[in-house]
Symmetry: C2
DNA sequence: CACAGATTTTGACCTACATCAAAGCTTTAG
DNA sequence: CTAAAGCTTTGATGTAGGTCAAAATCTGTG
């Protein structure tokens, strides 16, 4: 019970200085599973066996290593992370980023190993769900699977952004789409979504979007001069969502 | 039982002329679920209630419409399909392609509607699994969910290609990666993977990869002149996989 | 078989973005 | 606080690939 702090559920006050953006359990992708695993049921020790809570992670710490055996999935509690593949030329190709409330490691589920590495972009914390201990769930397993299906499907849906991001033909569209997708992902878990700190360096954004660092920088500058947003280093405030959507060519056509 | 044709399981003879590439049930993404749904169990009618088998689809037929309520998922039996989002500027952004053995519509699972449309690139056939009738499964539901989890996870893993595809900085890498990903997807379901017909027009490839049609064409030509492959219209034969991998910067670094 | 429409290829030109270079900034460690 | 290393921005220049245009090839249809 105590793990669920019932507090002001407003999406974190805009002006306030908080140490970091932390998602409450209610808006965590693992929530349903935690509940089932015993959080508020009469099997209170079970949960500690299966999920490790709020383990602190250091900046640059690697929490999943590519090609290691799949054992657990992680929920981001606070902080942010990147997944990347290591390519032959020594470069790393960034696959995606993870933010509070999102699940990491799901791709490992269908095989016995993780396909990519995951590394912290900043200090943070994660909850860890141990798949090797699932049998402890007994007849709760069915419900648990149900939750898992939902989580996986949500992921599949979330991935719909990626092709839009990358398929976009020019840098302007990509950056606009990238910012909007970040904003939406933050909003989804009750974090401030109009004004936030980019947790990743320009270098990583560029890598992810297939652009040069300089181009990323210039686009931010251009958007600022067009009054679509304000940037100061990693701090971003989105000011004209409508126009950003237009730039991204993303305001979907009317439903058929 | 008769639905499972036990035949020569070789991945389709290279030189032979077959009407089309059809996956057998064994290599279909729906297989596990079909089995559970009753294919070879004592409830033979059940299956017909839940899965529609080998329904023929015409070229250009739209089998899923964006924003329509989610009801069923589809397995590609033969033929191929594309998913796309309709953008504000009237353009369509191609999200992905589907080939025999793959599942379509899974993204609809977590919400009550499909996020994208799916359209046939050529005549083909699909099996259809009706999610509104799942309660008919009774206590088989648990096993079914298990299968579903596997399918979803496999999908999540398959999507790992996408960022590599799109994040790749230049046209050469993208085309190389695209061809390799096609090849791998074909191979996965026992279809010929070194020599195949591209089911989609250059226009769709270009759209998907964020390139111009002309660039796609020129790259194919260049690869041919480098003896990496042979192209004749839509017919492709991959000749130098190693080199293609190198171009794609894709031969993963050694496991850590 | 022949035509019409679509798809693919080829060529010439030009713009968006990568690359190279260097100057502010910011953060970290001492 | 200062130095060193890292980020981010800005500027100048070159090129990959977009765009426009047209020819060549393929596809389906009466």
């Amino acid at each position: 019970m105590s793990a669920i702090k019932k507090e002001n559920s407003r999406p974190a006050p805009r002006g306030s200085r908080r140490k970091a953006n932390v998602v409450e359990c209610e808006s965590c992708g693992l929530y349903g599973m935690c509940q089932i695993a015993g959080l508020e049921d009469p099997v209170p020790d079970l949960i500690d066996e299966i999920v490790g809570r709020r383990e602190p992670i250091n900046s640059a710490q690697e929490i999943i290593t590519a090609n290691q055996p799949f054992r657990e999935i992680y929920a981001v509690k606070s902080g942010s992370f990147k997944t990347y593949a290591s390519l032959a030329n020594g470069q790393q190709q960034i696959i995606d980023f993870y933010f509070p409330g999102e699940l990491m490691g799901l791709e490992g589920l269908s095989e016995e190993y993780y396909p990519h590495s995951v590394e912290a972009l900043e200090a943070g914390s994660v909850c860890r769900l141990d798949f090797t201990k699932l049998e402890l769930l007994g007849d709760r397993l069915g419900k648990f699977q149900q939750q898992l299906i939902t989580a996986l499907s949500r992921r599949a849906r979330q991935d719909q952004w990626i092709p839009l991001l990358m398929g976009a033909q020019n840098a302007e569209q990509r950056i606009a789409t990238f910012l909007l997708s970040l904003s939406e992902r933050f909003a989804e878990h009750g974090l401030p979504s109009m004004r936030f700190k980019l947790p990743m360096p320009r270098h990583d954004i560029a890598n992810y979007l297939g652009l040069a660092v300089e181009t990323v920088s210039r686009m931010f500058q251009r958007f600022q001069s067009l009054d679509l947003l304000e940037v100061h280093g990693r701090h971003v405030e989105l000011k004209d969502m409508d126009e950003l959507h237009k730039l991204a060519h993303l305001d979907k056509a009317a439903a058929a």
